[in-house]
Protein backbone atom coordinates (compact mmCIF):
# COMPACT_ATOMS: atom_id res chain seq x y z
CA UNK A 1 0.00 0.00 0.00
CA UNK A 2 1.53 3.26 -1.07
CA UNK A 3 1.63 5.84 1.63
CA UNK A 4 -0.62 8.74 0.89
CA UNK A 5 0.55 11.82 2.72
CA UNK A 6 -2.29 13.68 4.26
CA UNK A 7 -2.64 16.98 2.48
CA UNK A 8 -6.09 17.74 3.77
CA UNK A 9 -4.72 20.86 5.42
CA UNK A 10 -2.94 21.93 2.26
CA UNK A 11 -4.30 25.23 1.03
CA UNK A 12 -3.29 25.28 -2.61
CA UNK A 13 -3.93 21.75 -3.71
CA UNK A 14 -5.30 22.71 -7.08
CA UNK A 15 -3.42 25.26 -9.17
CA UNK A 16 -4.18 28.72 -7.88
CA UNK A 17 -6.11 30.00 -10.83
CA UNK A 18 -6.89 33.35 -9.36
CA UNK A 19 -6.29 35.98 -11.98
CA UNK A 20 -6.79 39.65 -11.27
CA UNK A 21 -8.49 41.73 -13.93
CA UNK A 22 -6.42 43.91 -16.25
CA UNK A 23 -8.32 46.96 -15.01
CA UNK A 24 -7.13 46.26 -11.46
CA UNK A 25 -3.48 46.41 -12.55
CA UNK A 26 -3.99 49.73 -14.30
CA UNK A 27 -5.80 51.10 -11.22
CA UNK A 28 -2.87 50.04 -9.05
CA UNK A 29 -0.45 51.76 -11.43
CA UNK A 30 -2.59 54.89 -11.41
CA UNK A 31 -2.67 54.92 -7.60
CA UNK A 32 1.12 54.55 -7.49
CA UNK A 33 1.50 57.48 -9.88
CA UNK A 34 -0.76 59.65 -7.71
CA UNK A 35 1.30 58.86 -4.62
CA UNK A 36 4.53 59.52 -6.53
CA UNK A 37 3.29 62.97 -7.50
CA UNK A 38 2.11 63.48 -3.90
CA UNK A 39 5.53 62.66 -2.48
CA UNK A 40 7.24 65.14 -4.82
CA UNK A 41 4.62 67.81 -4.11
CA UNK A 42 4.96 67.30 -0.34
CA UNK A 43 8.74 67.66 -0.59
CA UNK A 44 8.44 71.03 -2.36
CA UNK A 45 6.68 72.52 0.67
CA UNK A 46 8.58 73.20 3.86
CA UNK A 47 6.75 71.24 6.55
CA UNK A 48 9.72 71.38 8.95
CA UNK A 49 10.11 68.14 10.88
CA UNK A 50 7.11 66.63 9.06
CA UNK A 51 8.68 66.35 5.61
CA UNK A 52 10.47 63.08 6.27
CA UNK A 53 7.63 61.30 8.14
CA UNK A 54 5.21 62.24 5.35
CA UNK A 55 7.62 61.06 2.63
CA UNK A 56 8.11 57.77 4.49
CA UNK A 57 4.38 57.31 5.09
CA UNK A 58 3.71 57.72 1.36
CA UNK A 59 6.53 55.28 0.56
CA UNK A 60 5.04 52.73 2.99
CA UNK A 61 1.60 53.11 1.35
CA UNK A 62 3.13 52.63 -2.11
CA UNK A 63 5.12 49.59 -0.98
CA UNK A 64 2.00 48.07 0.59
CA UNK A 65 0.05 48.55 -2.65
CA UNK A 66 2.84 46.87 -4.65
CA UNK A 67 3.09 43.96 -2.19
CA UNK A 68 -0.65 43.33 -1.99
CA UNK A 69 -1.62 43.63 -5.65
CA UNK A 70 1.43 43.47 -7.91
CA UNK A 71 2.99 40.73 -5.77
CA UNK A 72 -0.40 39.03 -5.32
CA UNK A 73 -0.09 38.66 -1.55
CA UNK A 74 -3.76 39.58 -1.18
CA UNK A 75 -4.70 36.28 -2.85
CA UNK A 76 -1.87 34.24 -1.35
CA UNK A 77 -2.09 31.46 1.23
CA UNK A 78 -1.63 32.31 4.90
CA UNK A 79 1.87 30.89 4.89
CA UNK A 80 2.95 33.63 2.48
CA UNK A 81 1.40 36.26 4.73
CA UNK A 82 3.40 34.90 7.66
CA UNK A 83 6.67 35.15 5.72
CA UNK A 84 5.88 38.67 4.47
CA UNK A 85 4.79 40.01 7.84
CA UNK A 86 7.63 38.38 9.76
CA UNK A 87 10.23 39.76 7.34
CA UNK A 88 9.05 43.28 8.21
CA UNK A 89 8.94 42.32 11.87
CA UNK A 90 12.64 41.40 11.69
CA UNK A 91 13.32 44.65 9.87
CA UNK A 92 11.61 46.38 12.79
CA UNK A 93 13.85 44.53 15.25
CA UNK A 94 16.91 45.59 13.25
CA UNK A 95 15.87 49.25 13.35
CA UNK A 96 14.53 49.44 16.89
CA UNK A 97 17.46 47.72 18.59
CA UNK A 98 20.13 49.55 16.56
CA UNK A 99 18.56 52.98 16.86
CA UNK A 100 17.73 52.56 20.54
CA UNK A 101 21.49 52.31 21.04
CA UNK A 102 22.72 55.02 18.67
CA UNK A 103 20.02 57.59 19.39
CA UNK A 104 20.46 57.38 23.16
CA UNK A 105 24.21 57.89 23.31
CA UNK A 106 25.39 61.11 24.89
CA UNK A 107 28.12 61.73 22.35
CA UNK A 108 25.74 62.05 19.43
CA UNK A 109 25.94 65.16 17.31
CA UNK A 110 22.50 66.59 16.83
Amino acid sequence: MAHAPDHADHVGHAPAHHRASLVAYFLVFFALMIFTVATVAASRVNLHQWNTPIALAIAVIKATIVILWFMHVIHSPRMTWIVVISSFLWLGVLFVLTLSDYLTRGWNIY
Binding site: A2, A4, P5, H7, H10, V11, G12, H13, A14, P15, A16, H17, R19, A20, L22, Y25, F26, V28, F29, L32, M33, T36, T39, V40, S43, N46, N51, T52, A55, L56, I58, A59, K62, A63, V66, I67, W69, F70, M71, H72, S76, P77, M79, T80, V83, V84, S86, S87, F88, W90, L91, L94, F95, T98, L99, Y102, L103, N108, I109, Y110
Partner: protein, 239 residues
Amino acid sequence: MRNPTLYDLQHPGAAGSQPADDAAAHHHPFLQHHFEDLGQQHEASTLGMWFFVAQEILFFGGIFCAYTIYRVMYPAAWSAGAHHQNWKIGLFNTIVLIGSSLTMALAVWGAQAAKRKFTTLMLVLTLLLGSAFVGVKGYEYREHIHEGLFPGSNFTYVHHEDPSLTHGIELFMVFYFTMTGLHALHMIIGAGLLIWFIKRAWRGDFGEEYYSPVEIMGLYWHFVDIVWIFLFPLLYLIH
Protein backbone atom coordinates in the same frame (compact mmCIF):
# COMPACT_ATOMS: atom_id res chain seq x y z
CA MET B 1 -7.90 6.12 -3.80
CA ARG B 2 -4.18 6.59 -3.39
CA ASN B 3 -1.86 9.23 -4.70
CA PRO B 4 0.34 8.25 -7.65
CA THR B 5 3.86 7.31 -6.69
CA LEU B 6 6.96 8.13 -8.69
CA TYR B 7 6.78 4.58 -10.09
CA ASP B 8 3.26 5.18 -11.37
CA LEU B 9 4.30 8.39 -13.02
CA GLN B 10 7.23 6.79 -14.81
CA HIS B 11 5.38 3.60 -15.74
CA PRO B 12 1.82 4.57 -16.49
CA GLY B 13 0.94 1.16 -17.96
CA ALA B 14 2.81 -1.04 -15.51
CA ALA B 15 1.02 -4.12 -14.19
CA GLY B 16 -0.49 -3.75 -10.77
CA SER B 17 -0.25 -0.03 -10.82
CA GLN B 18 -3.37 1.69 -11.92
CA PRO B 19 -2.83 5.31 -12.78
CA ALA B 20 -4.81 7.10 -10.12
CA ASP B 21 -6.04 9.69 -12.55
CA ASP B 22 -5.26 11.26 -15.87
CA ALA B 23 -2.78 13.58 -14.25
CA ALA B 24 -0.62 10.59 -13.45
CA ALA B 25 -0.65 9.25 -16.99
CA HIS B 26 -0.20 12.63 -18.66
CA HIS B 27 1.52 14.68 -16.05
CA HIS B 28 2.60 18.16 -16.96
CA PRO B 29 6.15 18.28 -18.39
CA PHE B 30 7.15 20.95 -15.85
CA LEU B 31 5.79 19.12 -12.81
CA GLN B 32 8.73 18.10 -10.63
CA HIS B 33 8.29 14.53 -9.41
CA HIS B 34 8.54 15.44 -5.72
CA PHE B 35 5.37 17.54 -5.89
CA GLU B 36 1.85 16.17 -5.87
CA ASP B 37 0.53 18.59 -8.44
CA LEU B 38 1.26 21.93 -10.05
CA GLY B 39 -0.71 23.76 -7.38
CA GLN B 40 1.53 22.45 -4.64
CA GLN B 41 4.60 23.14 -6.78
CA HIS B 42 3.43 26.70 -7.39
CA GLU B 43 2.85 27.30 -3.71
CA ALA B 44 6.22 25.88 -2.73
CA SER B 45 8.14 27.92 -5.29
CA THR B 46 6.40 31.22 -4.51
CA LEU B 47 6.91 30.63 -0.80
CA GLY B 48 10.60 29.90 -1.43
CA MET B 49 10.89 33.14 -3.40
CA TRP B 50 9.26 35.02 -0.54
CA PHE B 51 11.93 33.67 1.81
CA PHE B 52 14.51 35.05 -0.59
CA VAL B 53 12.71 38.40 -0.68
CA ALA B 54 12.62 38.40 3.15
CA GLN B 55 16.39 38.00 3.12
CA GLU B 56 16.69 40.84 0.60
CA ILE B 57 14.52 43.09 2.80
CA LEU B 58 17.00 42.60 5.65
CA PHE B 59 19.99 43.01 3.31
CA PHE B 60 18.78 46.44 2.16
CA GLY B 61 17.35 47.09 5.63
CA GLY B 62 20.82 47.12 7.19
CA ILE B 63 21.98 49.80 4.75
CA PHE B 64 18.82 51.84 5.32
CA CYS B 65 19.47 51.61 9.06
CA ALA B 66 23.05 52.87 8.66
CA TYR B 67 21.71 55.67 6.45
CA THR B 68 19.30 56.66 9.25
CA ILE B 69 22.05 56.80 11.89
CA TYR B 70 24.34 59.03 9.81
CA ARG B 71 21.50 61.21 8.68
CA VAL B 72 20.63 61.87 12.33
CA MET B 73 24.29 62.70 12.98
CA TYR B 74 24.82 64.96 9.95
CA PRO B 75 21.42 66.40 8.97
CA ALA B 76 22.84 69.58 7.37
CA ALA B 77 25.30 67.65 5.21
CA TRP B 78 22.55 65.22 4.16
CA SER B 79 20.36 68.09 3.10
CA ALA B 80 23.21 69.75 1.19
CA GLY B 81 24.11 66.42 -0.43
CA ALA B 82 20.56 65.76 -1.58
CA HIS B 83 20.69 69.18 -3.22
CA HIS B 84 23.04 67.71 -5.81
CA GLN B 85 20.40 65.22 -6.87
CA ASN B 86 18.15 66.27 -9.69
CA TRP B 87 14.68 65.39 -8.41
CA LYS B 88 13.22 65.75 -11.90
CA ILE B 89 15.45 62.95 -13.16
CA GLY B 90 14.58 60.96 -10.04
CA LEU B 91 10.87 61.46 -10.67
CA PHE B 92 11.29 60.42 -14.30
CA ASN B 93 13.09 57.25 -13.25
CA THR B 94 10.45 56.50 -10.61
CA ILE B 95 7.73 56.66 -13.26
CA VAL B 96 9.80 54.47 -15.60
CA LEU B 97 10.37 51.88 -12.86
CA ILE B 98 6.74 51.75 -11.69
CA GLY B 99 5.79 51.48 -15.35
CA SER B 100 8.08 48.47 -15.65
CA SER B 101 6.36 46.96 -12.61
CA LEU B 102 3.04 47.37 -14.39
CA THR B 103 4.30 45.63 -17.54
CA MET B 104 5.82 42.88 -15.35
CA ALA B 105 2.46 42.35 -13.60
CA LEU B 106 0.78 42.26 -17.02
CA ALA B 107 3.31 39.65 -18.17
CA VAL B 108 2.26 37.41 -15.24
CA TRP B 109 -1.37 38.04 -16.18
CA GLY B 110 -0.64 37.08 -19.78
CA ALA B 111 1.24 33.93 -18.75
CA GLN B 112 -1.74 32.86 -16.63
CA ALA B 113 -4.00 33.36 -19.65
CA ALA B 114 -1.58 31.49 -21.97
CA LYS B 115 -1.29 34.59 -24.15
CA ARG B 116 2.12 33.83 -25.59
CA LYS B 117 2.68 36.95 -27.69
CA PHE B 118 1.22 39.32 -25.09
CA THR B 119 3.42 37.84 -22.34
CA THR B 120 6.53 38.10 -24.50
CA LEU B 121 5.72 41.69 -25.45
CA MET B 122 5.18 42.67 -21.81
CA LEU B 123 8.48 41.07 -20.78
CA VAL B 124 10.26 42.92 -23.60
CA LEU B 125 8.68 46.21 -22.42
CA THR B 126 9.77 45.46 -18.85
CA LEU B 127 13.31 44.87 -20.08
CA LEU B 128 13.29 48.11 -22.10
CA LEU B 129 11.94 50.19 -19.20
CA GLY B 130 14.42 48.58 -16.80
CA SER B 131 17.29 49.30 -19.17
CA ALA B 132 16.11 52.90 -19.55
CA PHE B 133 16.21 53.24 -15.76
CA VAL B 134 19.79 51.92 -15.54
CA GLY B 135 20.80 54.12 -18.48
CA VAL B 136 19.46 57.25 -16.77
CA LYS B 137 21.20 56.18 -13.56
CA GLY B 138 24.46 55.92 -15.50
CA TYR B 139 23.96 59.45 -16.82
CA GLU B 140 23.42 60.70 -13.25
CA TYR B 141 26.57 58.91 -12.06
CA ARG B 142 28.56 60.59 -14.83
CA GLU B 143 27.29 64.00 -13.75
CA HIS B 144 28.18 63.34 -10.09
CA ILE B 145 31.67 62.13 -10.99
CA HIS B 146 32.10 65.21 -13.19
CA GLU B 147 31.19 67.37 -10.18
CA GLY B 148 33.88 65.61 -8.14
CA LEU B 149 31.30 63.94 -5.91
CA PHE B 150 32.60 60.38 -6.14
CA PRO B 151 33.88 59.51 -2.64
CA GLY B 152 37.51 58.74 -2.03
CA SER B 153 40.61 60.26 -3.62
CA ASN B 154 38.49 61.52 -6.53
CA PHE B 155 36.34 63.61 -4.23
CA THR B 156 37.35 67.15 -5.20
CA TYR B 157 34.08 68.87 -4.40
CA VAL B 158 34.14 71.71 -1.85
CA HIS B 159 30.98 73.10 -0.34
CA HIS B 160 31.65 76.83 -0.54
CA GLU B 161 28.67 78.04 1.52
CA ASP B 162 29.91 76.03 4.49
CA PRO B 163 33.18 74.12 3.91
CA SER B 164 32.70 72.22 7.18
CA LEU B 165 29.90 70.27 5.49
CA THR B 166 32.19 68.94 2.75
CA HIS B 167 33.09 65.69 4.49
CA GLY B 168 29.51 65.07 5.55
CA ILE B 169 28.47 65.46 1.92
CA GLU B 170 31.14 62.93 0.97
CA LEU B 171 29.59 60.53 3.49
CA PHE B 172 26.15 61.16 2.00
CA MET B 173 27.57 60.33 -1.42
CA VAL B 174 29.00 57.06 -0.03
CA PHE B 175 25.45 56.11 0.90
CA TYR B 176 24.09 57.43 -2.38
CA PHE B 177 26.45 55.34 -4.50
CA THR B 178 26.18 52.24 -2.29
CA MET B 179 22.39 52.24 -2.18
CA THR B 180 21.68 53.17 -5.79
CA GLY B 181 24.60 50.98 -6.94
CA LEU B 182 23.26 47.88 -5.19
CA HIS B 183 19.82 48.72 -6.49
CA ALA B 184 21.15 49.08 -10.05
CA LEU B 185 23.01 45.76 -9.65
CA HIS B 186 19.68 44.14 -8.81
CA MET B 187 18.17 45.76 -11.89
CA ILE B 188 20.97 44.43 -14.11
CA ILE B 189 20.56 40.90 -12.71
CA GLY B 190 16.80 41.24 -13.26
CA ALA B 191 17.38 42.36 -16.86
CA GLY B 192 19.56 39.30 -17.46
CA LEU B 193 16.82 37.05 -16.08
CA LEU B 194 14.25 38.84 -18.26
CA ILE B 195 16.19 37.97 -21.42
CA TRP B 196 15.96 34.29 -20.45
CA PHE B 197 12.26 34.68 -19.65
CA ILE B 198 11.53 36.37 -22.97
CA LYS B 199 13.02 33.33 -24.69
CA ARG B 200 10.96 30.93 -22.57
CA ALA B 201 7.73 32.90 -22.99
CA TRP B 202 8.20 33.07 -26.76
CA ARG B 203 8.84 29.31 -26.83
CA GLY B 204 5.44 28.88 -25.15
CA ASP B 205 6.56 27.37 -21.83
CA PHE B 206 3.92 29.15 -19.80
CA GLY B 207 0.19 28.70 -19.54
CA GLU B 208 -2.80 28.50 -17.23
CA GLU B 209 -1.37 25.59 -15.29
CA TYR B 210 2.27 26.52 -15.27
CA TYR B 211 3.26 30.15 -14.81
CA SER B 212 5.16 30.03 -11.49
CA PRO B 213 8.51 31.14 -12.97
CA VAL B 214 6.95 34.35 -14.36
CA GLU B 215 5.21 34.94 -11.04
CA ILE B 216 8.53 34.54 -9.21
CA MET B 217 10.34 36.80 -11.68
CA GLY B 218 7.59 39.32 -10.91
CA LEU B 219 8.19 39.03 -7.15
CA TYR B 220 11.86 39.86 -7.68
CA TRP B 221 11.16 42.75 -10.03
CA HIS B 222 8.50 44.30 -7.77
CA PHE B 223 10.79 43.98 -4.76
CA VAL B 224 13.47 45.98 -6.58
CA ASP B 225 10.77 48.53 -7.39
CA ILE B 226 9.89 48.80 -3.68
CA VAL B 227 13.54 49.51 -2.77
CA TRP B 228 13.49 52.42 -5.20
CA ILE B 229 10.17 53.68 -3.77
CA PHE B 230 12.12 54.29 -0.54
CA LEU B 231 15.38 55.43 -2.14
CA PHE B 232 13.75 58.17 -4.20
CA PRO B 233 12.44 60.31 -1.29
CA LEU B 234 15.40 59.47 0.98
CA LEU B 235 18.09 60.47 -1.54
CA TYR B 236 16.44 63.07 -3.75
CA LEU B 237 13.73 64.81 -1.78
CA ILE B 238 15.22 65.68 1.63
CA HIS B 239 15.73 69.24 2.75
